[in-house]
Point group: C3
């Protein structure tokens, strides 16, 4: 019932109470579904929408001549997300270690933690309570893992890494592989021992097939509440600040520090050894080539066009310096003439 949702999560119910079967997007919701409208730009979609009830802002509700039940909430998207957790509770882990898994000597597994089959846990590993470790996970020696951590199938955690509480890591991600540290001898590359660790603090979530390298001497650190998407590369000694969110396909080169509360769009790339201020926002595809001291929004992508237009325009980029010089010359000549004419006019 809508009233039960409001009782649990706050907000105001406008219109009559009713039963809700499931959640759905505005454009596909049916009569028994609850939808949400966050962006006033899409308000027209309300007319065609068949949802049994909708979550909207109080401001928008006043504007709408909508007769169906509405839940009024300041942030409809966030409210909807909270409702979703009511409808889709996460199953608790089933305590126990599957006999088809291996736990090395000196390792301890906390109460309520489930270790599924085909898991390899090294020596002197500590795993907290109520964790869920899926099949195919490999955990190296001396790793420490907090409480309520989920490691999805085929995740690898190298020796010595530390993972806090309530961390989730999706399948295929690799935590703590060697960083790309090489010194040129004059004949070949000499590998620099990567002796640091990866430290993942509490409430971090990491997507699938992401790689976070161990530090070279210091540690690579992902701070509390940071969220990292799929196929992200985080190099050795990088630090990601608290509550920063990093979208898919991003790469961050060695020793770069990203501040707190930053957001990074997909496929952005950071060079190494730079500092990014707190609350910086980086557009998708941006090559972040130097430190950013002033919070704000930054971008660098070449704008898309048709191939024909691109071919006509892009060729000039190779001669832009020349073009600028030509404009300067024109300005100079223009100025000379203007001066001459002024003289003549006198």
């Amino acid at each position: 019932m809508l009233s039960e949702i409001v009782a649990k999560l706050g907000g105001t119910l406008r219109g009559e109470d009713r039963r809700i079967e499931r959640l759905a997007p505005l454009d596909t919701a049916g009569q028994d579904d609850l939808a949400f409208l966050a962006n006033p730009k899409y308000r027209r979609r309300m007319d065609a929408c068949e949802a049994g009830a909708v979550i909207v802002t109080p401001a928008l509700a006043d504007d709408l001549a909508d007769t169906r039940p509405l839940i009024l909430a300041e942030d409809p998207y966030l409210y909807f997300a909270r409702v979703a957790t009511l409808f889709h509770p996460v199953a608790p882990p089933v305590e126990g270690i599957h006999p088809g898994s291996t736990v090395g000597e000196g390792s301890r597994v906390g109460k309520g933690t489930e270790i599924r089959e085909l898991v390899s846990i090294g020596r002197h590993v500590t795993i907290g309570e109520n964790c869920k470790i899926y099949p195919g996970v490999v955990i190296g020696d001396e790793v420490s893992i907090g409480d309520s951590v989920t490691l999805h199938a085929n995740v690898t955690v190298y020796h010595g890494c530390r993972i806090g509480d309530r961390v989730g890591i999706h399948s295929g991600s690799v935590i703590g592989a060697d960083g790309f540290g090489l010194a040129w001898t004059g004949e070949d590359w000499f590998k620099i021992p990567q002796t640091g660790r990866v430290i993942i603090e509490d409430d971090v979530e990491i997507g699938a097939n992401t790689t976070i390298d161990r530090g070279a001497m210091a540690d690579t650190v992902i701070r509390r509440g940071a969220k990292i998407d799929n196929l992200v590369q985080i190099a050795h000694n990088v630090q990601i600040g608290e509550h920063s969110a990093i979208a898919g396909c991003v790469g961050i080169a060695g020793s770069t520090r990203v501040g707190a509360y930053c957001t990074v769009g997909g496929a952005a790339m950071f060079v190494g050894h730079i500092d990014i201020a707190d609350k910086t926002h980086i557009g998708g595809g941006t090559l972040v080539s130097k430190s950013i001291r002033t919070p704000g929004t930054y971008a660098s992508s070449y704008p898309m066009s048709t191939m024909k237009d691109w071919m006509a325009n892009a060729v000039h980029l190779r001669h832009l310096d020349d073009l600028v010089k030509r404009v300067k010359r024109l300005e100079r000549e223009q100025k000379t003439r203007n001066n001459r004419e002024d003289d003549t006019d006198e």
Copy 2:
């Protein structure tokens, strides 16, 4: 024998019949090899080529004074690909479930399907006939897989996903991990339950270490015959149209729909919530920043040059708006002067 190939695959044999030992590229083929020449641009390579026989177009054959046996086919590359399947038949799976694997309760495995060792299959999973599941594969609960599917080593399929017939997924790919759905509470990120699925239709092939996230509420859908390369990121609620081909390192952000018969070059990136028309072709490295309504070829990459030239030119991009204004001013002054001179002339 060449005549047997022509009997099976069509085309015309010109010259005498002979035995062929193997297939090879034009430039390394030996006397017992069959090669192909698809692009007339490379016809000169025929002279140096030692191949025992070559597949060419009828048009090109007429032009060539080549005395060796030729197979004439309209599309030599496609013809060659078909010959290759004759020379390299795929071994059929060996029915049976390896005792070192785990199949959850309520799961069914079809006739002729081979489950190799170290495989984890969840509960209520359906796997069709003649599939091949390699070691290290992890399949979550309630997954449905059709006939003649190959899951290579260390693939992960999350709970509830659906995979059609004749699908191939290469090692390390992750199907159905949570999408990157976050709502900001004012203090931290609130995770939005990702309750949709991934639907992979028939005849799809997916490369290695690619990630396809489950939908947030709706499903992520890869339509019939689509082909996806390695290290591709497909976010939640994305739809890929029939027979579209997506090259390596591409990222597609949430809820974007790519039409049918599209091709996407390597490392292209799509922002979220956009629509791409059928038969659109995207150049490598393009940032697709808005919907494309008109089929065609699109591009956006910055042209490569030497670092020295790049440094001279790229700096002006930050002042391009200023440059355009300067040219406008010059034009205005020029025009004023032209008008004045016209007045003088009268």
Copy 3:
């Protein structure tokens, strides 16, 4: 003791001998630590640095009024790397095959090689001496692996691939998946059998979640001493030259040849079928769109700016061709006027 280090690795000790407990970066090193200073640009950091001893160049040492012990070496970074291997020796493998692993018929494992649990080794595989194969590794049939090779957890090597001596491959990497070879039939994509192999020569190191596809007919080849970082995509038939180093998130399309002694910055992308000269250096994020015949440094990225500036400037890129034409017209008019004035002057 510093004197022991110098005795083993060369260089000169300036100042008094002392005991060193560990290695550390210049800015966090304590009294018992050894640090290094490679870049004279950072020499001021010496003043604040508390390291017990520092490795510097002889030239820099002459310049510094530093009273603590110094080790003088021509390349302090390389010297430091060598010291690190003294402080962090790698544990040798423990000979033996874990009973929870599977070795196919006709396969041989050399002396001193350790096969951990949950490993799958196919038929007719050869693995040399002193290798270490971590849990979750899957090796296909007829693979050949040399001596002193380390395959980290969850690595996949497909059938028929060849790996030389002293190769290291980090977790999640996939060697030998099918290349993205497709021919369009007019109705759908026809898969071209990928019948080549991946050949990895001696002393190659490969990062985590990298993919190297098998050749289509020929082989994909990674030559001696090449170093490849995380999340790199190397397509079918590519060749990487000796001692070339490729940073994270790079993609190299099919049949491209990268020469020897090249360096490739992160997220650079190469189109297919091109040749890159030996000793070429590619900047991060560069789209390498054609062959490079002349060694040197190349770049192509759009420079970063604030979103506001970017929006003001980037829009003009779509009209750059028009801008160039306008400048040409201005120049023409200017020239006509100059000529006329010259005439008038006469």
